[in-house]
Homo-oligomer: 136 residues x 2
DNA sequence: GTATACTCTATTAAATCTATAGGATAAATA
DNA sequence: TATTTATCCTATAGATTTAATAGAGTATAC
């Protein structure tokens, strides 16, 4: 299940991308427009900034803005920053690999086999979808 | 993230499928062989039986057995029984549809668009993968 | 009729997710 | 330089979900 964090984060990105200019937008405005609890959104935007998806500016006239053009923001990056690993089990994760402690041999593991296929199909979608694609 | 319930359930199915005959196998044997807490596995097997994936037999010589041949058991069915909806958000679920309360218009929702694509790619994998495919 | 093995309900412990509070910091500007 | 504005950061509370266990009930084989 997609977390609310990711859902809200995607909506915030889409909102920023849909705006004409790239001037900073305040948290309050995004929250209001997208029906997101402001304080929660605050922490989400922060992780996206730290994850390299957004830039920010403090003080009057400040806010958050897209670092790159929507066409250049892949869903792979967005999902990794917001939701974490794309793989459904750590033992098939490309960026967050971890061995299962209950499984003696990955190569003979049925779960492993299936989850590699699922991971690859999800990656295929995320890699070919940019922020620009989902706002139209 | 894949729940342990689903992971254990898949392993149990794979174990049953890998056996020569289709005689009932006891919970204790599956639990031992696959490193699964027995009581937990008990409840998982029960839901799989209720979900039409397994048959069971009580009393001496009893246990669980596959209802159909591994080639005929689609991952779509398995995942729905164990993990629930394949969609990551209820508003794009085929079998468990629910409207989002924070979203005024699905057709213009960026999350909706992306998650439909992800759902379809996962379905593509699950539909073309059977229990027989993942045990080899 | 007794041992066997699944069935069912209830409960607990741990982990994760969602949300909020409040003060710290940086920038603009008057 | 004082004030206002808006992000930054840490901590924490509450709710929900997941993982696991306990124990009594029920059907079957022999």
């Amino acid at each position: 299940m997609l977390s609310k964090k990711t859902k809200y984060g995607l909506k915030a990105l889409a909102f920023l991308a849909s705006r004409e200019d790239r001037k900073p937008v305040q948290i309050a405005e995004i929250a209001r427009h997208e029906n997101i609890p402001q304080k929660f959104l605050e922490s989400i935007l922060l992780t996206m900034r730290k994850g390299g998806l957004l830039g920010s500016k403090k003080g009057k006239g400040g806010g958050y803005y897209l670092f790159k053009d929507p066409e250049e923001i892949q869903m792979t990056a967005v999902m990794r920053v917001l939701e974490g690993p794309i793989a459904m089990v750590p033992c098939v994760s490309l960026n967050f690999y971890e061995k299962c402690d209950d499984c003696p041999d990955e190569n003979r593991c049925a779960v492993n086999k299936l989850m590699i296929a699922v991971r690859d199909s999800a990656l295929e979608v995320y890699r070919h979808t940019t922020l620009a694609d989902i706002i139209r």
